[in-house]
């Protein structure tokens, strides 16, 4: 009994509860009941975490964006507007859900439901602590890539079933973009897998713990590629062309109203948070923080790191304009993919060096980190110099007429004086 209580009250490892229960069931019941029960507890725990987090996320995102935009943000419902998401959800549920006459009724109904599934499944393999993980798949990375791929299908169903031109445009853009950006994401994760030698997410975190080094320092280019590719898959600014408000209204969910729209909106935030958590796990050491996880609950450390990445996402959303679809594509295929391939070669060479030689790893890894940082810097600077073409290199200030007034002749003279010519 005391052992049970001790495990229950250990905040650092909440999986103790689940373990105690399953062990107790194993004592008298069949094996399948124990596994089923452990899975059920894990799923319920995720649902219990995700729901409130989602409500909080909406508030956090709106508040932060408001701060960036010199406004107050929601501040009427509840203390500091904290209950605004609840009020919004009630409003959305009460609203009429319109179905366009030309829409495919069944297909139209499916996407808001289906879109939640991948968003929730991602959390299944995420390690919140050394033992806190619903399923420690040894192919966790592959599982994640497969899950994120299904999202495209759901969005295309939404765009197609709406029978709306804006929605179809949005869906087409999503497909083109997500399929392209899947490649750099896979390449960046390949570099991670090369180094850690593990496809399990917990294995990747444990490798970072073992080597006392977060992968962001060792593989900066892979981290950058993963972050940019992930942002593209989320359809967030600066890559929100799928729902580009100023162009195609709301993209694939133009025709969705009421809580159906609310679900799309919620999943968008949830996916952004999941991406932040994955970024934290792969590249920032997950639940591990140089021994601090012995004192602070590991899931709090993961949450802190996730929030940091999420803040960067919100920051980008509040600051950057949107790229055009052809620019997004050329950025992916002309920069991210070659850079990812280059980095794979680098990672493979370094990994072989680590395996084949008996160099001191505490020296070899920092040296490799410095080399990789230099490569990243060189690649990014080189691209920044050449991107944009000659037009983008025109001066960013207008020509001043200096008292010259007139028509075409004056225009030509001014242009010549400025060195441009016609």
């Amino acid at each position: 009994m005391t052992a049970l209580l001790a495990a229950w009250y250990d905040l650092r490892d909440l999986s103790g509860i689940s373990r105690e229960i399953t062990e107790w069931v194993q004592g008298w019941g069949p094996e399948w009941l124990a596994s089923a029960l452990s899975g059920l507890i894990g799923s319920l725990a995720i649902l219990a975490v995700v729901g409130p987090t989602l409500l909080l996320l909406i508030w956090v995102e709106r508040k932060l964006i408001a701060r960036i935009q010199v406004r107050y943000g929601p501040n009427r419902v509840g203390p500091r507007g904290l209950f605004q998401p609840v009020a919004d959800a009630i409003k959305l549920i009460l609203k009429e859900e319109l179905v366009p006459r030309a829409a495919d009724k069944w297909l139209f109904f499916l996407p808001p439901v289906l879109v939640f599934i991948p968003a929730l499944l991602v959390w299944g393999v995420l390690p919140f602590g050394p033992n806190m993980q619903v399923a420690d798949l040894n192919v966790g990375v592959l599982y994640l890539l497969a899950i994120s791929g299904t999202n495209v299908l759901v969005i295309f169903i939404a765009g197609w079933a709406s029978n709306n031109k804006y929605a179809l445009f949005g869906a087409m853009r999503v497909i083109a973009m997500t399929i392209s950006y899947e490649v750099p994401v896979v390449l960046s994760l390949l570099a991670v897998v090369f180094f850690t030698g593990s496809m399990s997410l917990n294995g990747i975190v444990q490798w970072q713990q073992q080597e006392d080094l977060i992968l962001l320092l060792l593989l900066p280019l892979a981290a950058l590629t993963f972050f940019i590719g992930g942002t593209a898959e989320l359809n967030r600014t600066p890559m929100d062309i799928a729902e580009a408000e100023s162009e195609i209204v709301a993209g694939y969910h133009t025709e969705y109203s009421g809580m159906r729209f609310g679900l799309f909106y919620a999943v968008e935030l949830l996916n952004a948070f999941a991406l932040s958590a994955l970024m934290a796990t792969f590249f920032l050491g997950g639940w591990w923080l140089w021994g601090l996880e012995e004192w602070v609950p590991s899931w709090l450390i993961l949450l802190a790191k996730t929030s940091m990445v999420y803040f960067v996402l919100i920051w980008l959303r509040g600051t950057l304009p949107r790229l055009r679809i052809d620019q997004l594509m050329s950025f992916c295929w002309k920069f991210l993919v070659p850079a990812g391939l280059l980095f794979i070669v680098v990672a493979a060479v370094e990994r072989t060096v680590l395996l084949e030689t008996d160099w001191d790893r505490t020296v070899a890894l920092p040296v490799m980190a410095v080399i990789n940082a230099a490569i990243t810097l060189a690649v990014v600077v080189l691209y920044a110099r050449t991107a944009g073409g000659p037009l983008a290199r025109l001066p960013h200030a207008p020509i001043m007429a200096r008292g010259r007034v007139g028509g075409l002749r004056a225009a030509r003279e001014l242009a010549e004086a400025a060195g441009g010519g016609d």
Binding site: A244, R322, D326, Q327, H396, A397, A401, L408, A410, G420
Partner: protein
């Protein structure tokens, strides 16, 4: 010999997409019908008239003074400039002298209005490029201060109805000039802050450089004016070319673009805000005393004549053509609306680009639908 199998062809045809009259980036109730081949614009049809209020006809039924409020509602984002242009036309028609104090106040408010209008135009332009509301909010902050000054002076923020035939309606309150001075002191920093966020932003540059290009020649042929014309490199500003009020006593420069694209129109507007601040700094120190309104009969009956007066409104050459038959109401009242004429170049600028480019181009022209439809 086996029969040829029927060719399996995928049929593809252009899609017609309606942008508007209710669409997030049509700036009002303007409707753009684009024919798209994938994402590329093949044809763009502009459909206007959703905001038509028959102003020019209504104005023929009202006295010359009663028509001033109409001009507010023609270009509701630059009411002061419209007031000014109409009053200049009637003053030319009836040969009315305007006292110097009113002249300076007219310039003061016209330039404040230019700052407000250009701020909004640049904010919505960056918004159309996809920056999620942030630049718009920053620019609204500046515009709000200008509107506060309008409110301080004449009680209204948008539809000011402040200029009168023969001067201005009221002498502004004593706290106006200190407010303007404080605004001018902080404005250069605000413009620099704003420019640092947008002008050198790589995404904004690649989104708008080389997009919606119109050459100087084509711009002149299309009779464009204002920042759209100057963006194409033509140094044509009515404040320099045909000075009215006291602009010939003021020192300022006219910015022109290099390439005639959306980015040029954007930076030209930004520089014009800087120049307006420079003008205002000279104006606040030079306002003379004296009367601000000449005595003009309420039922003004100008002699049988016609007059056309033009000003450089934030959107371009804004002209009013007024004909009098000697009666208390104008026989003909016509407005040369810069938005309408600048808009005619939209098709030329956007065909061949993508849908996203067409939206950015529309944003860079800075239309006000109230002025297009009247």
């Amino acid at each position: 010999m086996c029969p040829e199998s029927p060719p399996t062809s995928t049929r593809s045809e252009p899609v017609v997409v309606n942008l508007g009259p209710q669409h997030p980036s049509t700036h009002g109730v303007f409707r753009l019908k684009v024919t798209l081949d994938g994402e590329v614009v093949q044809d763009a049809d502009m459909i206007i008239g959703y905001l038509h209020r028959s102003m020019e006809k209504l104005a023929e039924e009202r006295t010359f003074t009663q028509n001033i409020p109409f001009t507010d509602r023609i270009d509701y984002l630059a009411a002061m400039s419209n007031n000014l242009a109409y009053c200049l036309a009637v003053e030319k028609l009836a040969d009315i002298q305007v006292p110097p104090r009113a002249q300076w106040f007219r310039v003061l408010f016209a330039e404040l209005q230019r700052i407000a209008s250009h701020s909004l135009a640049n904010g919505t332009f960056v918004n159309d490029c996809g920056a999620w509301q942030t630049p718009l909010m920053y620019m609204f902050r500046e515009r709000e201060k200008v509107l506060d000054m309008f409110e301080m002076t004449c009680g209204a923020r948008l539809t000011t109805n402040y200029m009168r035939i023969g001067g201005v309606a009221f002498d502004p309150p004593p706290e106006l000039l200190p407010a303007v001075r404080a605004f001018l002191d902080e404005m250069p920093d605000r413009i620099a802050e704003y420019a640092s966020l947008t002008v050198d932003n790589e995404i904004l540059v690649v989104r708008s450089r080389g997009v919606g290009v119109i050459s100087a020649e084509a711009a002149i042929n299309a009779s464009l004016s204002g920042p759209v014309l100057r963006g194409s490199g033509v140094p044509w500003d009515l404040r320099k070319a045909d000075p009215y009020c006291v602009y010939d006593q003021l020192d300022f420069d006219v910015p022109v673009g290099r390439n005639g694209d959306c980015y040029d129109r954007f930076i030209v507007r930004l520089e014009e805000v800087r120049q307006s601040v420079h003008i205002l700094k000279q104006v606040v120190d030079n306002i003379p005393g004296g009367p601000w309104l000449t005595d003009v009969p309420l039922h003004l009956r100008p002699p049988e004549a016609e007059a056309y007066a033009r000003v450089e409104s934030p959107r371009g050459e804004l002209g009013f053509y007024v004909v009098s038959d000697g009666g208390p109401t104008p026989l003909r009242f016509h407005c040369r609306a810069p938005s309408l004429i600048n808009l005619t170049a939209l098709k030329q600028m956007s065909v061949g680009g993508t849908l996203a480019d067409a939206i950015v181009t529309l944003g860079s022209i800075d239309i006000v639908v109230g002025e297009i439809d009247r």
